[in-house]
Amino acid sequence: MGTPSHDGFTGKRSLSDLRAIEMGGPAAEYCGKLLAGLGAEVIKVEPPGGEATRFENPFYPTMTPPDASLPFWYRNTRKQSVILNLHSNSGRIAMDHLVRCSDIVIEAFRPGYLDDLGLGYAALARSHPTIVYVSVTPFGQSGPRSKWESSDLVTLAASGVLFLGGWPDRAPCSVDPSQASVVGGMAAAAGCLLALYHRDRSGRGQHVDISTQEALAASLEAAIQEVHMRQRTRRRSGWAYPRSQLRRIFPCRDGHVLCVVTPVRWPVVTQWLRDEGCDSLDNIDPGTIAEDPFRLKENNVPAMQAFEKAMESLLANKTKTDILHEAQRRGLWFSPIHTPHEILEHPYMKDRNFFEETNHPEVGTTIRYAGPPFRMSETPWAPSSRAPLLGEHQSTILHGLICP
């Protein structure tokens, strides 16, 4: 299918009929970003002084908070900002008016915080039974750890993902921990629209309670099943993978590539090597070097070293892109390790119009942002606009929606 253009589109976007109120940190913000990209009107309700995330490093050079944080900018494209003091009566009344003309509330506060202010789901649903109320937190609204102090790293650690990453001779280490909030936000958006599906048919809203720990735990592959079925535990092993695959990074002319080889594709690798004049792997049984963290003593070290040496010389003088294309041609899963900078300049990403040049008048330039996570043929992603300045929409919202 062709790439749908999102310039000049005059039709409705998929969520154009909806308004969402968003409060709280990164997971709520990423959820709101997705809804705004799908066309919903998303209003950030911020405390006096601004949401704490406005002070998250790094800042755009020459700018200072509350309108300078790059992570805040990325997570808050296409939204409006209004300041309400929810601890004051007038703030709560204003909030109630805002909820009355909205479809969705998204919040990432500690469980109980909004309840204490009379703005939790139970209270709001009494007067607004159609509201879809989404709460996203590290551990969910209920349970013995729901009130734990947490961080992205602590949530990642609880999920099981952290245990499985990193090198055996070091502490466990997996993805950049900020991905925890991103995953929580993604789960919140999906949960929100699941509730919306029900509302479209029943007219009723509901509470959507997202546990980021659970959203991350869904990515443990079959590690839990290994324990349940076979009473054994997968362990961190660098790039290696139990039994069924060889995985290694090798340097190449312009960086590194990841090579994944399954036993079935071993002959393809040896053929490629022979095509380039190397037969050193011809007598090696791949079964003896398929790594298996469950049975480490069966690793065949000399054979593994021969494999690594052959691969290093195969790949050393080739570029990442050439390796990818040749590997695809032969049916092998070899891929470049890209840095973020390389992705910004990548021909595939540019051909796909993946990036959104977003105007920042205060800075005096447009800045390149990552674009849509998906494409929709009839209701394309909304054009980008920069994150709102603190309280930028105060008067339009106060006089338009809250006290029209």
């Binding site: 990074i249 390790i337 996570p373």
Partner: protein
């Protein structure tokens, strides 16, 4: 189960050409929330995850490996040979009774069977087609097949993860396949269904998984756009506050135990000093601010680990939580399954009977909906177990007709 649960998506039927992880994860969510999901399999081309270890110890040939079962609850399974014209015709009949088609083939595979979107829209004009290729068809990038690990590598996730003094690390799990792609696909699909609800219009959704993964790293990409390079790898540490990291505690039964601690504020720091029995550090100017602590993070980490390594993990975590400091266990898969009180209270895991008289382990969704909860209520299907239901009941084929399909190997 005897209990009737109000179901969010009980009116939705989905035809799923899904295998491995990304597509099935979407199909799982849809099924968990009540949709009728029909997975198209074939005796000659089964989902490779059916036969991937771990396999049940008592039945290694069952086609019910652990990867497959956890990913495919609440799915029906039918077996059809799509190389047969009649097989394709049967799919079209099924699609005419369905709302959604989900596929995670390589680009163009569906078209080669004569089941591309234009053919499908002819039998169901308001269909929503969800396609999840690794990369979209783009000149020079046609027909690319990638695994989740390749996506981590190509999206920049690996480059920003791991210890700074070593090569980029694989996250250890295929985060892209199991979370980014399916969750984003689910969001787009539900948005498309909302649009259809309002307008009657279907559409095609494309989740090109490399782009989906890059969009998850949008903050790192924005930094690269502004500064000319993305964030440096910092392992478990934060770039802007210290201390943060993973610290060794006492082994338990010969097993390594680690805890994770984040000190994000001055108050956390002062509390940590108190808990560790080092109250003087709280006022020590060498550690007075985040930037000061960042400069001394190696020294601080050594002191913290000296304190944690003599204690069991649970008491470390309890004393830190009691003092208001973000801290928690680095949980193993066994910890999650057997001794995580939070997951137990939330009902995250469930066991369902399998076809061999024992019980398999399933997971429930991370989104808890108060009125229409989702859950793994039906086990993963045995290959072709729903052939009778779909061909005889749903499509209304006579017994003779079905037998002729079996004989000609259209079904099977």
């Amino acid at each position: 189960m005897n209990q009737i649960w109000p179901s969010a998506m009980g009116d939705l039927r989905v035809v799923a050409f899904t295998a491995y992880a990304a597509g099935p994860m979407v199909a799982r969510l849809l099924g968990q929330f009540g949709a009728d999901v029909i997975k198209i399999e074939s005796g000659s081309h089964i989902d490779p995850f059916r036969v991937l270890e771990p396999l049940p110890a008592d039945d290694q040939g069952s086609g019910m490996g652990g990867f497959f079962t956890v990913l495919n609850p609440c799915n029906r399974s039918i077996t059809l040979d799509l190389r047969h014209e009649q097989g394709v015709a049967l799919i079209k009949e099924l699609v005419s009774l369905s709302d959604v088609v989900v596929e995670n083939f390589r680009p163009g595979v569906l078209e080669r069977f004569g089941l591309g979107p234009s053919e499908l829209f002819q039998v169901k004009p308001d269909l929503v087609v969800l396609r999840m290729p690794a990369m979209a068809m783009s000149p020079g990038w046609e027909d690319v097949e990638l695994l989740g690990n390749n996506l981590s590598a190509m999206s920049g996730l690996s480059a920003i993860s791991g210890d700074p003094d070593r090569m980029p690390v694989d996250p250890g799990v295929a985060l892209s396949d199991y979370t980014y792609s399916p969750l984003q696909a689910m969001t787009a699909l539900l948005a498309a269904l909302h649009h259809r609800h309002l307008t009657g219009q279907g559409q095609i959704i494309e989740v090109a998984q490399l782009e989906t993964a890059c969009a998850a790293l949008g903050t790192a990409l924005l930094e690269a756009a502004v500064f000319g390079h993305g964030p440096e790898r910092r392992g478990n540490r934060s770039r802007f506050t210290a201390p943060q990291g993973v610290y060794r505690c006492q082994d338990d039964n010969g097993e390594e135990q680690w805890c994770a601690i984040t000190v994000a504020t001055g108050e956390h720091w002062r509390s940590l000093c108190g808990v560790m029995g080092q109250p003087r550090w709280a006022d020590d100017p060498r550690f007075a601010s985040s930037s000061a602590r960042l400069q001394r993070e190696d020294e601080i980490d050594t002191c913290i680990e000296r304190w944690t390594q003599g204690q069991n993990r649970q008491s470390v975590v309890e004393s830190l939580q009691h003092a208001g400091i973000p801290a928690g266990p680095v949980q193993s898969p066994a910890d999650l399954l057997e001794r995580d009180p939070q997951l137990q209270a939330r009902g995250y895991f469930t066991e369902l009977p399998d076809n061999r008289g024992s019980r398999s382990l399933y997971e429930n969704p991370a989104m808890h909906l108060s009125a229409t909860p989702g859950a793994s209520r039906k086990p993963a299907p045995v290959l072709g177990q729903d052939n009778d239901y779909v061909f005889s009941d749903l499509l209304g084929k006579s017994e003779d007709m079905v037998n002729s399909y079996i004989v000609s190997e259209v079904i099977g």
